[in-house]
């Protein structure tokens, strides 16, 4: 009996010993990650701030997260340019089919593009809030740094909210104090966006430790932009005046237009004096196949043969190309009637068929914006037309160019380790000094200082007119370029308004701004329906280069100024049977 007792005892002992240590045995902390307290110090907060900046490019890959891509590209090429009629989806009909309904104004709230963009901008907001939260807990940060870090984080938070606001209008505002994340979207968040960006404008220094950081003037420019979006021209004007006269970039160089228009779209000349605030792109930096480069635009190269290897998206429209026609005498555009004549295209022609490009007078910016047959495409040789186009019958003869890289930059300023070569280090400049000039011109127009406006518009046009900046075919201009200045006073405020708005179209085409400009000017319905009709071939049945599917599309005023709120965000907000997030009108 003793033996039994002992053996049972010994077994029990094993159990009890194991048991007594089991509390710590079962306590396993995650490895490889950090908890919040580890980051609540100066280094941690600075690193979180870098993380908040890194969402600007619209793509996150790693660290447990895969989010974004072309759907959420910081350039807004789909939402800002395709939707405005600057360009078509491009490629072939079946690739990225989610863009088809967005382009034709039939998109529904379940369209994946909206969900991804929404998640991405709020990710940026959450990261900005992380900075502010940990900053509050940190004890080793100097007052100056607290002020600067707060300002940078609030600038970024303001920027991301601005993105949400212009996309969906009715969106929730999130700050670092929110603990219950089931938020409502029933308030106008402009005042909160303004407050965030103004804080940055008021508190940031002029010169920053790195080119890519926002400085006082960049914050001021975004602040003015937010005011412009609310048509608060009188409030925006003094800020723009200040930037125009005394603004400097983060390196302390006074803002100025680049001598050549094309320098704004070249990785070698990025962060210049014209770059007010840019999304920094880098490649070959140890990330996985160009995660920090122009991932959101990687689909938008010509299709085989030229730069990149894929995928022929984002093809400029005939309406856009026509816009660059100028009067042969004055060198001025004709905003009212530019579509009365069609710039010659090689639609229906193969690359082997003979073709002579348009010989009429054209704004020189066209060929830095649109790749077209017979014109040198950067240093890649002449665009051969059909052979670089994925499905000409479907998507037309043109290619995007501003996001592209030079052949000489291959593998140095591009990543070529992925399925598509050509993720570039060619920054997306979110705010160019040209923006500042033309916004200021808008303010002058609205304030009836038409001569001041004319002078500002001419400043931008003069740069475009610089022959040194023309696309050259050998030593001679590749086309019949002519950019004239407005030499006589505008006939009316309306004429000036038309001029400045059309100048924005020419200057910023394919840069993701056009749709949001049309909406803030409250002309989206008329302007877009006119373009839809033209590109669809309805208003001019004889045009060669048309997309019949566009002709069926229709922009509904009061609805399509804003995109539908992603259904997923609405579904997630249901509490007690009621959705806290309400859909936008009309959807």
């Amino acid at each position: 009996m003793k033996k039994i007792a002992f053996s049972i005892l010994s077994l029990a002992t094993v159990g009890v010993i194991t048991w007594s240590c089991s509390k710590s045995f079962l306590d396993r902390k995650p490895l490889g990650g950090l908890d919040a307290t580890t980051l609540a110090n100066k280094n941690g907060v600075e690193a979180l701030l870098v993380g908040a900046y890194s969402v600007l490019d619209g793509f996150i890959n790693g660290g447990g997260i895969f989010l974004g891509g072309w759907e959420s590209s910081g350039t807004n090429w789909v939402y800002g340019s395709v939707v405005a009629g600057d360009a078509h989806k491009g490629s072939d009909a079946g690739d990225q089919p989610d863009i088809n309904p967005i382009e034709t104004f039939t998109a529904t709230p379940t369209n994946n593009y909206f969900r991804i963009k929404y998640n991405l901008v709020y990710e940026g907001i959450a990261r900005s809030n992380s900075v502010l939260k940990q900053l509050a807990a940190a004890t080793d940060v100097s007052d100056a740094d607290v002020k600067r870090i707060t300002a940078e984080a609030r600038f970024l938070r303001g920027h991301y909210h601005f993105e949400a606001k212009k996309m969906w209008n009715n969106v929730p505002y999130v700050d670092e104090k929110v603990t219950d994340f089931n938020l409502k979207n029933d308030a106008d968040i402009w005042p909160l966006i303004e407050a965030d960006i103004k804080n940055a404008y008021d508190n940031l220094p002029e010169i920053m430790s790195a080119k890519g950081r926002v400085n006082k003037w960049a914050a001021g420019a975004l602040y003015a932009k937010a005011l412009m979006f609310q048509r608060k021209y009188t409030e925006a004007k003094p800020i723009l005046d200040a930037i125009y006269t005394t603004g400097k970039n983060a390196q302390g160089q006074k803002y100025a237009l680049q001598a050549k228009f094309s320098a704004n779209f070249n990785a070698e000349t990025k962060n210049s004096t014209e770059s007010v605030f840019a999304v920094q792109y880098s490649v070959n930096d140890g990330s996985n196949g160009g995660d920090n480069g122009g991932w959101g635009e990687v689909l938008n190269f010509p299709y085989t043969g030229g730069p990149g290897t894929c995928c022929g998206f984002f093809q400029p429209s005939q309406d856009l190309v026509n816009s660059y026609q100028v009067n042969a005498t004055t060198g001025l555009p004709d905003p009212a009637n530019y579509n009365s004549n069609e710039v010659k295209s090689d639609q229906t022609l193969r690359s082997a068929d003979p073709f002579t490009p348009e010989t009429g007078t054209l704004d020189a910016r066209l060929d830095w914006t649109v790749g077209r047959r017979g014109i040198p495409f950067l240093d890649w040789g002449k665009h051969p037309g059909f052979n670089w186009i994925r499905d000409q019958a479907y998507s037309g003869p043109y290619a995007a160019i501003k996001n592209t890289y030079y052949k000489s930059q291959e593998k140095v300023l591009t990543d070529n380790t992925f399925w598509t070569a050509g993720v570039t280090a060619n920054n997306y400049t979110l705010i160019r000094f040209a923006d500042v000039i033309l916004w200021l011109a808008e303010c002058e127009v609205e304030g009836s200082n038409l001569e001041k406006a004319r002078q500002l518009i001419n400043e931008v046009r003069a740069r475009a007119a610089n022959p040194a900046g023309f696309v050259l075919d050998g030593a001679v201009p590749a086309a019949n370029y002519k950019v004239g200045l407005y030499t006589t006073p505008f006939a009316s405020q309306a004429a000036a308004r038309t001029a400045v708005r059309f100048e924005r179209k020419l200057e910023f085409a394919m840069e993701g701004h056009r749709f949001f400009d049309l909406v803030r000017w409250q002309v989206a319905a008329t302007e877009i329906n006119r373009i839809l009709d033209y590109n669809g071939g309805v208003s001019n049945p004889s045009i060669i280069n048309k997309r019949p599917y566009m002709g069926q599309a229709n922009f509904t005023a009061g609805k399509h100024e804003y995109f539908p709120i992603p259904q997923a965000a609405i579904d997630r907000s249901v509490s007690g049977g009621v959705a806290n997030i309400k859909q936008n009108p009309g959807y």
Binding site: L39, V50, G286, T309, D571
Partner: protein, 1073 residues
């Protein structure tokens, strides 16, 4: 902590062993001898003769004789042999005994291993499926999970047909959105699956299905438990078994696609129907397409200066500038044919086993080599198993089981199974006019203009042939058992596994595609994983007053898992030579290094069970387990899982005595709770991470470097706990007609509550909750179903006549999601080029298909006008059903998101397996049918092949010949047009839905055993040769490659070009001596 634990182990083991030694006792012994024969008088060789109540045993010689020593206090021998009923022989006063064995007519007395213990089948009150391992192993597969298909009622197995890949084994439907894999226990040691086990070494396999049988495994049991025991030696002389087979595998038919001329015709037709000018790049500018002699340069004919071979220039450093020439394949390349082949499969297994009075051993050496039916792809495996057991004393046994496995394949970076980027995907995405090779023997491809963007799958395979994935694993345990005081057995077992994996692959520059890789990369990674399990049990077994049988067990178990991995990549390799493929050789730019530890997981448990039988008639059993798991936060760290079961052998009642045809009938009922703890061990914690692609940023504007950043990457759920699954099971086991018929029937209901659901966080909280959310215990799911197994045996013409047997397994489950989370009625999965195919919704079974219902094609403009408003409606396009839209749920006259509906699901009504065996003289025949009924699939391949603008791949004959035209109004396929919109190829709808039921002859084997008179002359006990064919035919209405579609549990049944089931033809040999 670790030190502390080691210390405690160090302290405990000697104590345990010491206590075991104390229990040793010695008794005087006497000799006994005898002979064992079968009913027909033939001697039985290899039968085990054991002394009851001890561990003394021997096995019979070829003439059936045996001899052994018996302790004086023992009075009974137990004689057992495979295929015969065990028998107890009293030997009191005898020194010699002749024993006659009866061939087994029922499996009632068969002892099977269940949770931590073993039981006679007749005493089991839970639902346990005993797998016939001979039938199981008759299917040539690398993985026993795949072999399990159709072998056990209540188990659904979907096979991944890639060599070396496993299968989805699902017991009684689905109980989780996370991991529905059963728990696998091999020789008492838990493991992730059977992929690391040589199937030839399996001795027995039991599937524990209900709570009564499985909940002793507590928080890991809710998906069922599969208990595997490997072979061990028996007493007697050394036995050698050699088994081999060699055969060929056939890839079967590919897709029914167009040839070159047909594709050209379709291209013209589709452009014209879209009012687009017909393209002339390849096919000329005439009214009808003309096939060119060359597709690169495009549309050229012989004699054209552009196709002068002297111009040919392939420069890998200037791929876009290269001048390549592709001759058109005017007949048409059959790309499926090009990437497939008849491939050999072979397996050799040599096992030696035996033992003496004091020790037993089993050693097995195995080589398995399966070449894939897809070219340049294989899986090889080498295993060595050594199992031994030693009787240290009469009542003390020490033993070990050990397997060393090395496997190798080249399927790394193959883009998986069932996707557009696989070789099979490229088989339908390539145009037929593209040849495999160009005029210089280099690869040809979609570089030829206007011919799509597919890769060349032959090139992909050829380039991948030297990629390697290698895995080395050590798996096993050591154990000690001591019997004491007649009724007690204490056992301790320490086991586990160590895995090392290594893989490397080279990404080549490509030149033949429209979308080329202009750079090369090399990636290599290592990973290491280990786990250990330490189990201690104390078992008690006794019979009181000859009527009360009691078996009890208590135990403790500790488990820990841990692992690390590392991966590096470099690019811009100077040359692509095989010998140059090392990380060190790569270019300086674009270096990537990744790696990290897995968060360790630990489990500590105490458990117990009691089985009580009164008079062999009334049975009851109880189990209880308390699990502590590190995977959950301190708030919910411990869970308790009880179960109870009762059984009634009604056939033992007096009133049943007269029912002669019922030999044995037992009614069973059980209830219990099981858990599922399989979630990320880091689920409870908020985590901040950083990474080059996720949070670093080039603040300095350098263009090629970043500054490190961090982000909140995961919002943890500290309140997480296991899913609890409550199961009720009612069933019966019947043995009829003296054992000729056996029926096992179960009905069950399985309700999962606190189901772990990855509830997407709010976007406003950070990306972790959106793209990688924490699990929260909010959802619920129900499964009900029946499992039925019927075995029938027949002997025609006496013992020398034809011996027939058949086994039917029948499985049903009905799954319903009962709850997701507040305000969340569904979540969608299985994304595609046109959106999600699957909606997992409350009130619907898991993985339900969701989309628009096609009610026909618009006949004409008038039809469009009179139908509900639909975006892009036009004659020849889909007409969708207007189902809802108004606030009250009635149709609103327009087709909107609200009109999408549930279209079906891949969950079958039932599945079944039928094994028929016959033996006559030396011949044996085995036939195995397997079928699944009432399952649906979304044939997403049709999106690629039935719509012209869904990328410019090859298209179906259906699209060219039987699509809608104004004169072909009865067509099912919409008009062929180069336009993409909501009403043709841009929405998930019922056009893709198909019935995927099937009936398959899985196995047909004919064997012949050479007469023993012949083989005995060369000292061979048994020699058998056989011919076998698997998957000879499948009857199905499904039009895709294979109706058996493996996929994620919550996203199954969507076909994008599945790796098909292959036909095999084999020759095999079994030799025992």
């Amino acid at each position: 902590m670790k030190q502390k634990l080691l210390k405690s182990i160090g302290r405990a083991i000697p104590m345990l062993l010491f206590s075991m030694l104390l229990c040793t006792a010695a008794f005087a012994q006497r000799p006994i001898s005898g002979k064992v024969v079968a009913a027909n008088g033939q001697p039985v060789s290899g039968a085990t003769v054991a002394v009851k109540g001890s561990n003394l045993a021997t096995s019979t010689a070829p003439d059936g004789s045996f001899a052994l020593s018996v302790p004086n206090d023992r009075s009974t021998l137990v004689v057992t042999y495979v295929g015969f009923d065990g028998i107890e022989v009293p030997i009191t006063g005898l020194s010699s005994v002749n024993i006659t064995l009866k061939e087994r007519t029922s499996s009632l007395n068969e002892v099977v291993v269940t949770g931590y213990t073993s039981q006679a089948k007749k005493d089991i009150t839970g639902s346990v499926a005993v797998v016939n391992t001979t039938d199981l192993k008759s299917i040539p597969q690398a993985n026993a999970e795949a072999q399990l298909q159709g072998r056990a009622a209540g188990v659904n197995v979907t096979i991944d047909n890639r060599p070396g890949a496993g299968a989805n084994v699902r017991i009684r439907g689905f109980a989780s959105f996370g991991d529905n894999q059963p728990l696998y226990i091999i020789d008492g040691v838990p493991t992730g699956g059977l992929g690391g086990l040589n199937p030839n070494d399996i001795e027995s396999m039991q599937v524990l299905k209900d709570a009564a049988s499985a909940s002793i495994y507590g928080a890991r049991a809710s998906n069922g438990v599969i208990v595997v025991t490997t072979k061990r030696g028996r007493q007697g002389g050394a036995k050698v078994a050699f088994n081999m087979y060699y055969g060929t595998q056939n890839p079967a038919q590919g897709f029914n696609l167009l040839n070159s001329q047909e594709m050209a015709d379709l291209t013209f037709k589709s452009f014209r129907n879209a009012n687009q000018p017909t393209p002339t790049t390849q096919y000329g500018s005439g009214a009808n397409p003309v096939l060119p002699d060359y597709i690169l340069p495009a549309g050229k004919f012989e004699g054209d200066p552009a196709v002068n071979p002297d111009l040919y220039n392939l420069d890998l450093n200037n791929i876009n500038g290269s001048y390549l020439i592709h001759r058109a394949n005017k007949v048409g390349t059959d790309w499926y044919d090009e990437i497939t082949r008849n491939a050999p499969i072979q397996n050799y297994n040599l096992a030696v086993s035996g033992g003496g009075n004091k020790s037993r051993y089993m050693m097995s050496l195995d080589y398995f080599d399966q070449q894939a039916v897809i070219i340049e792809s294989f899986f090889k495996r080498y295993t060595l198993r050594v199992n031994t057991e030693f009787n240290v004393k009469d009542n003390i046994r020490i033993g070990q089981n050990l397997q060393i496995l090395v496997s190798e394949d080249n399927s790394v970076q193959n883009n998986g199974n069932n996707g557009e980027g696989t070789e099979i995907g490229f088989a339908y995405r390539n145009q037929p006019i593209i040849p495999v090779y160009d005029i210089k023997g280099n690869f040809a491809g979609s570089r030829a203009p206007t011919l799509g963007n597919s890769g060349n799958p032959v090139a992909n395979r050829m380039r991948s042939k030297d990629n390697r994935g290698q895995n080395t694993s050590i798996f096993g345990n050591v154990y000690a058992e001591v019997d004491f005081l007649k009724h007690f057995t204490a056992r301790t077992s320490f086991g586990g596994q160590i895995n090392y994996g290594n893989y490397f692959f080279f990404g080549f520059k490509t030149y033949e595609n429209s979308e080329n890789n202009t750079g090369n990369t090399f990636t290599e990674g290592f990973n290491r994983f280990r786990s250990w399990t330490w189990t201690n049990t104390l078992a008690y077994k006794n019979t009181f007053k000859e009527k009360h049988d009691v078996q009890a067990l208590i135990g403790t178990e500790a488990i820990e898992e841990w692992g690390r991995n590392i991966e590096g990549r470099r690019s811009n390799y100077f040359i692509e030579d095989l010998n140059f493929r090392a990380l060190n050789s790569g270019g300086a730019s674009g270096q990537v290094a990744n790696g990290g530890p897995y968060t360790p997981a630990a489990l500590f448990s105490i458990f117990g069970s009691v089985n009580y039988t009164f008079n062999d008639k009334y049975l009851a059993s109880f189990t209880l387990r308390r699990d502590g798991s590190s995977r959950f936060g301190p708030n919910n760290r411990y869970g308790i899982f009880p179960s109870a079961a009762v059984g009634w052998r009604i056939s033992r009642e007096n009133f049943m005595r007269d029912v002669k045809w019922i030999t044995d009938l037992k009614l069973r009922a059980s209830w219990g709770q099981m858990g599922n703890q399989r979630i990320n061990p880091a689920n409870a914690f908020d985590q901040y991470l950083g990474g080059p692609g996720s949070s670093n940023y080039d603040l300095n504007g350098s263009s090629n470097s970043t500054i490190q950043g961090f982000q909140l990457s995961f919002v943890g759920n500290p309140d997480g706990k296991w899913e609890t699954n409550e199961t009720v099971n009612v069933g019966f086991d019947a043995t009829l007609f003296g054992g000729k018929t056996e029926v096992i029937f179960d009905w069950y209901q399985k309700k999962t509550k606190d189901l772990l659901f990855r509830l997407a966080g709010f976007a406003y909280q950070g990306a972790g909750p959106v793209s990688n959310p924490a699990f929260v215990n909010v959802a619920g799911m129900n499964n009900t179903g029946i499992d039925l197994m019927i075995t029938q045996r027949a002997l025609i013409g006496g013992t020398k006549g034809v011996n027939l047997s058949g086994t039917l397994t029948f499985t049903t489950y009905k799954n319903e999601i009962t709850e997701l989370a507040e305000g969340i009625d569904f979540f969608e999965t299985r994304g595609s080029r046109i959106g999600n195919f699957v909606r997992n919704a409350v009130g619907q079974p898991i993985s339900s298909f969701f989309g628009y219902r096609v009610i026909g094609l618009f006949a004409d403009a008038a039809d469009v006008t009179k139908s509900p408003t639909q975006d892009a409606a036009a004659p020849g396009r889909f007409k969708y059903a207007d189902i809802a839209g108004n606030p009250d749920g009635t149709p609103d006259g327009r087709i909107t998101d609200a009109d999408r509906t549930f279209l079906g699901s891949p969950n079958p009504d039932f599945s079944y397996g039928l094994q028929l065996n016959g033996a006559w003289k030396g011949f044996d025949l085995g036939v195995f049918f397997y079928g699944v009924q009432g399952k649906e699939a979304m044939n997403y391949v049709k999106w690629w092949t039935d719509f012209f603008p869904s990328f410019q791949g090859n298209k179906s004959k259906e699209l060219l010949y039987n699509s809608w035209t104004p004169t072909n109004l009865g067509a099912k396929t919409p008009i062929a047009e180069n336009l993409s919109n909501f009403s043709n190829n841009n929405a998930v709808n019922s056009y893709y839905l198909e019935d995927a039921s099937f009936f398959r002859l899985k196995n047909l084997t004919v064997g012949y055993t050479l007469p023993s008179a012949l083989t005995n002359k060369v000292k061979i006990d048994k020699a058998r040769i056989y011919f076998q064919t698997t998957n000879l035919f499948t009857i199905t209405k499904y039009t895709g490659l294979d109706p058996e579609l493996i996929g994620a549990d919550d996203a199954g049944g969507v076909d994008e070009g599945i790796y098909p089931t292959v036909k095999q033809f084999l020759f095999g040999v079994n030799i025992n001596f």
